[in-house]
Symmetry: C2
Subunit: 196 residues, 2 copies
């Protein structure tokens, strides 16, 4: 029944499948993407996908957590490079804008995955590690006197909320300007809002 052993590299298929899945999920949506379609796009058989992943949801989950880990890594780098809350948070905003332009599919998937009815009982975005890290940066800024004392949740949401809305607008095609060109203006508004 089989045809190609095709054992190219170990763990290679996993990555190939995830990349194909991300592309299809971003383009047509999770529910409008079938497993055979992923298999075709990844040039892999359906059986192989079910060998590497428990089910379709598991593919989405692996994708989600992989991307979140990547983001968390970026935040760690930023934390090392910058000291003040101001510099750290500005770097984060710049990074998010850049990521949106460079890998819109990843951004699209991360932003909306939780609201898309798969991954039923997983912690929501706002309690995800990346968001918690951002909040920690803002709180540190309060301790350092850079940021006005306030509810950390409110302050963090206010600082980054505008940027996230712009990212959403950009992904929806409601915004023609590349985001990095709006960074200065967006940062200005966000920071003014919470600065001490």
């Amino acid at each position: 029944m089989a045809r190609k052993p095709a054992n190219l590299e170990p763990g290679k298929i996993r990555e190939t499948v995830l990349a194909a899945a991300l592309h299809l999920f971003a383009m047509r949506g999770y529910f409008n993407t079938s497993v055979p379609e992923i298999a075709r796009a990844a040039q892999v058989s359906v059986g192989s996908i079910y060998h590497h992943f428990k089910d379709k949801e598991d593919v989405a989950r692996a994708l989600y957590y992989g991307l979140m880990d990547g983001l968390q890594g970026e935040l760690a780098v930023i934390a090392e490079r910058h000291e003040s809350a101001h510099d750290r948070c500005r770097a984060i905003m710049a990074m998010l804008f850049q990521l949106t332009e460079n890998n819109r599919e990843a951004m699209e998937f991360m932003l909306h995955a939780k609201h898309r009815e798969f991954l039923p009982d997983d912690p929501p975005v706002c309690s995800s590690r990346p968001f918690a890290t951002m909040r920690a940066f803002v709180e540190a800024g309060m301790d350092r006197g850079e940021v006005r004392r306030a509810d950390p949740m409110v302050a963090t949401a206010s600082l980054f909320g505008g940027a996230i809305r712009l990212i959403t607008a950009r992904l929806d095609g409601a915004l023609d300007t590349p985001l990095p060109g709006l960074l200065d203006a967006c940062w200005e508004c966000g920071w003014r809002g919470i600065a001490a």
Copy 2:
């Protein structure tokens, strides 16, 4: 084959179905809700649903535009009651917070409907009438000298972005505080960010 004529009131079924659909969509998601389930919840037959709506997507669409119209109506009232951009926008933020607490299902559905893979080729939220109206209020504020001159999209996103993030967090269960209690703090941040 039929059993109950049950013709209670004209146009009554439509509303009943929409209410049931909203409830189920918000709870289990659009794709995890079947038409028979909607029928059962609405105490109506499947055939009746297909008589009143073209298909399942049409139910979602009717729901979406109905809710958007309601929101637009609220904005119109606010525009009449208040003159300045400051007062108008603050009233909007308060109204959004209130709506989230009073009718979280509606808010949930409006916020995420566009990102949920149905309603494929409809204008995205950011170009929706309500959002455009909010932008218009902000622009008017610029003309009046209340709001710092800036890209209207950026300013509007910054002003309301924090509130929207809090709403999302609240809907995700990541926030225990009722939103109205955070209004002052959230408004303070948003307005500071864009005030002249």
